[in-house]
């Protein structure tokens, strides 16, 4: 998966880079299956297919070439600086991991209530649907509003009569 991500960043041909992004997405769906989340796996597979279609439709009429890097001092400084930043970030995040619950044994403060009484409260056997639509309806309402806003923005950007230049 990480290999697919590195390939997606590094490959000079944009079509190959998009297909490598597909590797990342589909293996993410597989990991969701192993982590016990079939809902997420279904949605992830379909979303990955859709986003590949969108990206390929974007590059098929424009260009496939990546822009090459110039050999300049500022680029080298950028590479070295970001690498150093990443090392610092990794060390800090390792310190953060000790605050997180250990893998496979999370601290179920809120979710234990949902698991214990969600079925009796809502009557839905699928606890994810119960959480999403009944116990935490506000979250879903906000996300649906964000989706609507994104679609309206896309239609405005891509409308036929462009704005006045």
């Amino acid at each position: 998966m990480i290999l697919g991500a590195i390939l997606a960043i590094w490959l000079p041909n944009l079509m190959a880079a998009i297909i490598s992004m597909g590797i990342v997405g589909y293996s993410l769906a597989l990991s969701f299956m192993f982590l016990g989340a079939p809902d997420l796996a279904i949605v992830q597979i379909i979303v990955e297919t859709m986003s590949l279609i969108i990206l390929i439709a974007a590059i098929i009429k424009t260009t496939e070439k990546d822009t090459p890097d110039e050999k300049k001092l500022s680029r080298a400084v950028l590479y070295i600086g970001s690498t150093a930043f990443f090392v610092v970030f990794l060390l800090m995040s390792i310190k953060v991991f000790y605050q997180l619950p250990p893998f496979g044994n999370p601290a179920l403060r809120m979710a234990s209530d949902y698991i214990a009484s969600g079925f009796e409260k809502t009557g839905a056997p699928n606890l994810v649907a119960a959480v999403i639509l009944n116990l935490r309806g506000y979250d879903t309402l906000g996300e649906v509003t964000v989706l609507f806003a994104a679609v309206v923005g896309l239609v405005v950007v891509l409308r036929k009569t462009g704005r006045k230049r």
Partner: protein, 111 residues
């Protein structure tokens, strides 16, 4: 310690956003950062030897995976698709106007 995997994936995406100059590459990197975040959230909710959070007729109570991060990730995946589409739309408009995906050339052209 398994949490190191999504962090490395996130860093790869961040590297792409910072260093790359092509708009499509930047969009791909943002998507990879999205995926890393979803993976981290799904990992936090995982319990070893647990069932997916779906009650089955007949079986009373088994150990369930945490449903709360799954619900958050489920909505976030669809939002990620919509934002990717919005970025692609803006990128296509920029290509139509300037004829390139290179952000440094676009900065030099200035409309």
């Amino acid at each position: 310690m398994v949490y190191i995997l999504p962090i490395i994936l996130f860093l790869v995406g961040l590297f792409g956003v910072l260093v790359k100059r092509n708009l499509i590459k930047i969009i791909i990197s943002v998507s990879i950062m999205d995926y890393a975040l979803f993976l981290l959230l799904a990992m936090i909710g995982y319990r070893s030897e647990a069932m997916p959070p779906i009650e089955v007729k007949g079986i009373e109570y088994v150990k369930f995976v945490d449903p709360l991060p799954q619900a958050l990730v489920l909505t976030a995946i669809v939002i990620g698709l919509a934002t990717t589409a919005l970025l692609v739309g803006i990128a296509i408009r920029i290509y139509q106007k300037y004829g390139t995906f290179d952000i440094e050339k676009i900065r030099k052209l200035k409309g």
